[in-house]
């Protein structure tokens, strides 16, 4: 029974995401290969916002009260939308089918192996599961109770995953530690589908298949989704933000601007590092508005919405005195030492992704080496220089932020590099992929520079 209820929760998340996607970017709702990954990401965001609203209105969390509105909304919308939007062919050829088959196989493995291994540690427990349990027990966003937790936990961690985990816990009951794992496998599925889409939307089929297989077989990705970390979900938000920013450049519509804001908000509310992704989204919207590529009436709601959601959680953190674990307390007094550590962190981060030893080879394979070489090639080509520069710049912003964060926590400096680096560098994979893909384009493909 618990498993069925958890299935219902995930179906509702998918439905909520589909409804939101249909409202923002209906063109993506017509192909399942584009709709499913976006719905898998937007669904948890919609559910988290719904739970924040319910808490503000003092409506206790419950499965019926949180799930039913989405099914009612779907019943109203579905008939109208079915008439308006004819489905388009989703799978474009044998190569695309092969890549999607690998995605399904890897996601199935992540699902089954995740279900066999309960959530006991990692992000999913320390940073979100413990807080989610408070929300489940108190049936609200009870931040006073969170602040009173005895176990040292990351109470200021953004709330998207804790809220969604709380919903799963309400459905799963005593089996919560096992039945929460599909949430992470679904995030991995979203990320892999977006990677395949990024390749096949930009390259001829055979080259796209090569790029997609290289990315999907990145060892750290192939083994992901089972351990209960939030990095796959966060990386999927980064990729969705990047893809939407690219689409917005070509066709600046109000819906796409809002979808970009939603992607930025999703990243902001998933991990603390999401602040940089949110800032990149804000920056892109500002650039498009300043260049008059985006109408103020189209861009302003997205910009204001993203800023409002970005400010909401820090305000709540300050109001309730929530905090990070003491081991993450930053040491900012010695500026020179901080600069030195940041430079060292940058060097170690870049060295960690190259296949220089067995551990690094079995973490990244050839993905970063091939990606950096292809990105260099794309930089040489005039047709792709501007695009690749833009993606590399965005990646550099995120890498710089990551290195500074690691450097600011001196006690755990070595630990951070031994255990956290592969997961943090995963966040940069979307930027690397988008910077490298233009090198595989046909020579005669000319695209406008961003």
């Amino acid at each position: 029974m618990s498993a069925l209820l958890v299935l219902l929760v995930h179906l509702t998340q998918l439905l909520a995401g589909w409804l939101l996607l249909g409202a923002l970017a209906p063109e993506h709702a017509r192909r399942w290969t584009a709709a499913v990954p976006r719905a898998l990401l937007l669904g948890p965001l919609a559910i988290a916002l719904e739970m924040l609203l319910a808490s503000a209105l003092h409506v206790p969390f419950g499965l019926a009260v949180l799930l039913l509105p989405w099914w009612l909304a779907a019943a109203v919308v579905a008939r109208r939308r079915r008439a308006a939007a004819a489905m388009e062919p989703a799978v474009t050829g044998r190569e695309h089918l092969a890549a999607l088959t690998l995605v399904v196989a890897l996601a199935t493995m992540a699902l089954t192996s995740g279900l066999a291994q309960p959530l006991v540690a990692g992000d999913g427990m320390s940073n979100s599961g413990l807080v989610a349990r408070v929300y489940e027990v108190q049936r609200s966003l009870d931040l006073h109770a969170v602040a009173r937790l005895r176990a040292e936990s990351y109470t200021s961690y953004p709330p998207l995953v804790p809220l969604n985990e709380a919903l799963v816990f309400l459905a799963a009951g005593d089996a919560r530690s096992w039945l929460v794992k599909p949430f992470f496998a679904l995030a991995l599925l979203a990320l892999m589908l977006l990677l395949v889409e990024a390749c096949f939307a930009r390259l001829p089929p055979r080259r796209a298949l090569l790029a997609a297989l290289l990315l999907l077989l990145t060892p750290v990705l192939a083994s992901g989704g089972t351990s209960g970390y939030l990095d796959e979900l966060f990386t999927a938000w980064v990729l969705l933000a990047a893809l939407t920013a690219d689409e917005l450049r070509g066709a600046p519509t109000p819906g796409r601007a809002l979808l970009l804001a939603a992607a930025g908000a999703g990243a902001l509310l998933t991990k603390p590092q999401g602040v940089l992704v949110g800032l990149l989204c804000v920056g892109w919207l500002v650039v498009l508005l300043a260049r008059r590529r985006l109408e103020p009436r189209a861009g302003a709601p997205a910009l204001l919405g993203l800023l409002a959601i970005g400010a909401l959680w820090p305000l709540l953190v300050a109001a309730y005195g929530l905090s990070a674990p003491m081991s993450l307390a930053p040491e900012l007094s010695d500026t020179l030492a901080l600069v030195g550590r940041t430079a060292r962190a940058l060097g170690m981060a870049l060295a960690s992704v190259l296949p220089l030893d067995t551990f690094r080879f079995q973490t990244w394979g050839l993905t970063w080496l091939a990606g950096l070489l292809l990105a260099a090639l794309a930089l040489v080509r005039r047709a792709s220089r501007a695009r690749t520069s833009a993606w590399l710049l965005a990646g550099a912003v995120q890498l710089g932020g990551c290195a500074f964060t690691v450097a600011a926590i001196p006690v755990d400096f070595e630990w951070a590099f031994q255990t956290g680096l592969s997961r943090w560098m995963l966040h940069l994979l979307p930027w690397l992929a988008l910077a490298a893909l233009p090198a595989l384009e046909e020579r005669d493909v000319e695209r406008a520079a961003p």
Binding site: M109, A110, T112, S113, G114, A116, Q117, P118, V120, A121, M125, S126, G129, L130, R133, V134, V137, L149, R150, A151, E152, S153, D174, S177, L210, L213, L214, L217, T218, P219, V220, A222, S223, T226, M326, S327, P355, F361, Q362, W364, G365, L366, T367, A370, V411, D412, E414, W415
Partner: protein, 184 residues
Amino acid sequence: MTRSRVATACAAVLLAVQLVAAWPALEAGLVRARGVHHDLEHPDPQGLAGQPTFAALLDMPPLLAGVPDDARVLLVAGPVLPFAWDFYVMPRPLDVLVSAPDVLVARALRKLEVPEVLERWLAYLDTQGLLLTPDRLADALARDDVLIAFAIDADDLGLPPGVTARLQRVDSHGLATLYRIAPR
């Protein structure tokens, strides 16, 4: 044509090397998919058995099943890695005390690469009132209804004389033992 063949061969080699790199991760995933060995006596392929985080998941819920939701719980943890204490005890009110014997701490500080982490952790426990001391134990025993000793023997709790008689052993499961605290 030749150029195309060379490109195809390069792509095949690239993918083969990538598959070699990914194979251990894929194999580990397949092993996990076959299931976790819930056996705390023998190591399992996932490396979970014997870890306090995993033991807590297995041992705490069966013990707490018969404890009312409004009972105050005192959890005394032995010198093991911390786990999400509240996760398993909620919604019951919880007090936690962590044992850190001086001998073990001194040995750990000598062995650790970054001893500051342990020093800061112990300082944190002390400022939060979570470090096991006879006074804190006596205070907690006076206000709580049940005691869970996790990865620690009753003899190592440092119970004051006369208090031992108030503890009634109810059950034990793996690393955890449940005691009912009789009122004074």
